[in-house]
């Protein structure tokens, strides 16, 4: 094993190790100071970023750097390959993940100063960095799925970061539901690769699939990618995800998580290129998302949601580029978009503060400048579009009416068949009363 392989292992494992150590110490009742935590975070990601710089330097002369650990587990003819690999496609994403995690860590040390969930945020940041680095540096779709799921769960937990308010918690639940539903595509797609091609590894060439099998796998991966990248019709979760703290919004929905879907499609490009149907669908979804994003974003009332839709528009365009086979343009677009959006998200809070100061100074709103493109449309169309945008393209309504409501009704029907009753409000109120009054005896009995 050469030095670059060691560096690759370090870059991927270091955030996960820090997460594990601090989590264990917390379980043992030790809480690190904010200063120590931010210092270690800075050191970890600075070292990771330096390591990635070395990997980038090496990749200039080598096609890829691969570390094979063998199988994570194996049964019969099936094995879960444990292979880390960076090549020219993945190394920009690895660099982006390491660099932006470090920057967000430094930013958050000030932004979340004296916040009650300071340690929780940093633990989840490290876990997220580990998941994303694992997904980007995976040498097989199996390992990519593992990192992908970790990114998903940390994303959801950070949306519900302000746990005392019900809205972020409920929004986190909604996002979790969308993620899990779409991840079925990834799991079944990986199974299909194993079943038809005998492997899901891409460290030594892509799994060979042709015809209908290639189309099926592409469509399954597209489902997973669309869910993660908030593409139409799953875009409704993105504004809900803005409930999390701004630094996490920046790294998840400005930089890494939102582009993970595009990375998956870029990884599957050799397969995608074989299927006109799948490529066309990618373009169609991307175009629909771009249009949806730009229209809805114009009617968004808050800064973070506007930025989210701006990101969504660009990711939609990235999907179009991938569908057209413009692979490197897509990578450059992702890097540019991620960098700009991260900066905009982080600047959003202070920018609003600056605006307020400016308004105070000039004694009112500044006069509007420039013209909007929608002014070119007839007024009726403008109004219709405005209503459409206010309801965010009715996407949430569609999902709630056609997926959530039927499932809930079916579940309620089955519940009635079991002849059970949900607890009545009286019971709940009683429960709350009991909670307070039984605290003493509970402690005595325990």
């Amino acid at each position: 094993m050469n030095a670059f392989q060691d560096i690759l292992i370090f870059v991927v494992v270091a955030p996960g190790f820090i997460f594990a150590v601090f989590a264990l110490l917390w379980l043992l009742d030790w809480v690190p100071s904010e200063r120590l935590l931010s210092w270690i975070t800075g050191l970890t990601f600075a070292t990771c970023t330096s390591g990635v710089a070395a990997l980038v330097w090496k990749i200039r002369s080598a096609s890829n750097i691969t570390v094979t650990f063998g199988s994570w587990f194996a049964v019969g003819n099936y094995h879960f390959p444990l292979v880390l690999m960076v090549d020219r496609l993945s190394v920009p994403f690895v660099a982006l993940a390491a660099l932006s995690s470090g920057l967000i860590g430094q930013f958050s040390a000030t932004y979340l100063h004296r916040e009650s969930g300071f340690l929780r945020f940093f633990l989840l940041l490290h876990l997220f960095a580990f998941g994303s680095l694992l997904a980007f540096a995976a040498g097989s779709f199996d390992l990519l799925a593992a990192g992908w799921e970790i990114v998903g769960i940390t994303s959801v937990l950070l949306i519900g970061f302000f746990q005392r308010r019900p809205a972020p918690v409920e929004n986190g639940l909604y996002v979790f539901g969308i993620y899990r539903a779409c991840d079925i595509g990834l799991l079944v797609g990986i199974f299909a690769m194993h079943h038809w091609a005998g492997t899901a590894s891409f460290d030594s060439g892509f799994p060979t699939l042709t015809g209908a099998r290639a189309v099926v796998v592409c469509l399954l991966l597209l489902l997973a990618a669309s869910g993660k990248a908030a593409q139409v019709p799953f875009s409704g979760w993105l504004p809900r995800a803005m409930e999390g703290p701004t630094p996490s919004s920046a790294i998840f929905y400005g930089a890494i998580s939102i582009h993970a879907g595009a990375y998956l499609l870029l990884r599957a490009q050799p397969l995608l290129a074989q299927s006109v149907l799948a490529s066309s669908l990618v373009i169609l979804i991307g175009a629909a998302t771009a249009i949806h994003g730009t229209i809805v974003g114009r009617a968004s009332a808050d800064a973070k949601t506007s930025l989210a839709y701006a990101t969504l528009t660009q990711v939609g365009i990235v999907f179009i580029e991938i569908g057209l086979g413009w692979r490197w343009l897509a990578v450059a677009h992702i890097l540019g978009n991620a960098t700009v959006r991260t900066m905009q998200y982080l600047r959003a809070s202070s920018m609003l503060h600056d605006y307020h100061q400016m308004h105070s100074a000039i004694g009112g709103q500044p006069s509007p400048t420039g013209k909007q493109i929608e002014d070119l449309l007839p007024e009726k169309v403008q109004l219709w579009l405005y209503r459409w945008a206010l309801d965010r393209g009715h996407l949430d309504t569609i999902i709630e009416r056609w997926v959530i409501a039927p499932l809930s009704q079916l579940s309620a029907y089955l519940s009635r068949q079991d002849r059970t009753r949900a607890p009545s409000p009286t019971t709940i109120r009683h429960g709350r009363a009991v909670q307070v009054s039984t605290a003493g005896p509970a402690q005595r009995n325990n």
Partner: protein, 476 residues
Amino acid sequence: MSVPGWVLRTSFLTSASIAAPWLAAVVVTGFRRQVRVLGCIATLLSIMASTALVWRAPNGESLYETLMLLFSCLTLGAILLFPRRDSEAGTIAGILILLGSTLLAYSTGNLLVLLGAWILSIVPFLWAGRFRSRKWRPLVGLLSSSVAFALAIGLIVASTGVISIPNLKGHNPGGVVAFGLLVIAVVFRKGICPTHAWVADAAESGPLVPTALLLNGHFGALLVAKLIVPLFPQTDHLFPVLSYLAIATALFVAIRALAENSPRRLLAFLALSQSACILSGLESRTAEGIAGALVHWFVVTVSTVGLFGILRLLEVRFGENLSASRHLGLAEHAPRLAVSFAILGLALVGLPGTLGFCSQDLLIHGTLTSHPLTGLLLPIATAINALSFFRLFTRLFLGKRRTGFTIPADALPRERWVLAATVLFVVFGGLFPNAIVIRHSAEAVVLDEAIHTSEILKRVTTHQGNASCLQCPATE
């Protein structure tokens, strides 16, 4: 100092592991003091004997020994986790009886002893005292399964005169009727649809942790692995029916759980849905499916006992009317309980980095290979279960902090050790799964070969027209 040879004999170790809890149950019932200490000593003895059995078992033939060790450890954990108000002599004696009978069922190769263990395991739940559910369905479910199993055993013994399971392998004893009765026993005991309701009723109105232990004996899966698969090669065309039923149960119960607000019932549905996957994996006839089922058996057992235990601790601290219909904000009072709950629950639904991810991966591959269309329902069921679990977690632990508490409500030191052990098991098992998967892959290959050998035997006997020679040892 050398250990006497008779101590390490398999028969002695097995007897010791079973007799220790039963003896302790008798002592606890009579003595009625220091019941937790007595229970711990008995389960520790079972653990030591089971460990020696696992150590002595040849590679690929240690499934039941490993399960004995797991169940003994779980019982020890449950006894330590019990809140003081639940640690009464009757309760501890009940779960010690359950432990002994479960170990007996795992270890025996005799039909009548298996039947005895099966019945004995439900005896504590027939008592009208602390164990019995206040609803009728658990009683009917458990008794129906026992009656069906007793009839099947009676039919097998009457038609063959043989009570040794190894001697019956591949001989289709009792024919389709015995097979059908065994399937009915499995359906009732595991709560396969449409008999699923008793499991939720038992969890809701019975004692929570003992019910979790009863469910996690997985007698239904044991029956499939020990009797149905190896004994009935002639009815192998009916095996998929069991798989379809299991997959349908996994999905049906997962959907049913979506509207459930009672944490006890919700957890019971999750446990039921996830444990139904074990049956589909066992029936998948692929090495990865069977290995996945065996590993999943471990995951479901450890996770659900931990989850039920945490829920009971919450009930003791915050009142028994907990509901998932609103946010209760308990995480700020009990952060370690919250984290343990989250990790165990996410392991149950296959979070990467936990053993659940490996078992789900293997299960999905195995089931999709054998049943490409119905197998698709398995990841869907798991996804719905994940959503239900996350809903339960957010409702119980997140939300506005409750006021009025001045007491520490987080895990006590003894509870912390138990929860840390369960969490470390699922996490380290997930990070380094080969230690567990390789052991079970060998067993899966043995089971897989048993199935395929049964198929070969079936073809041969079809040609020769003689399938009932019980004097010849079965091919394994």
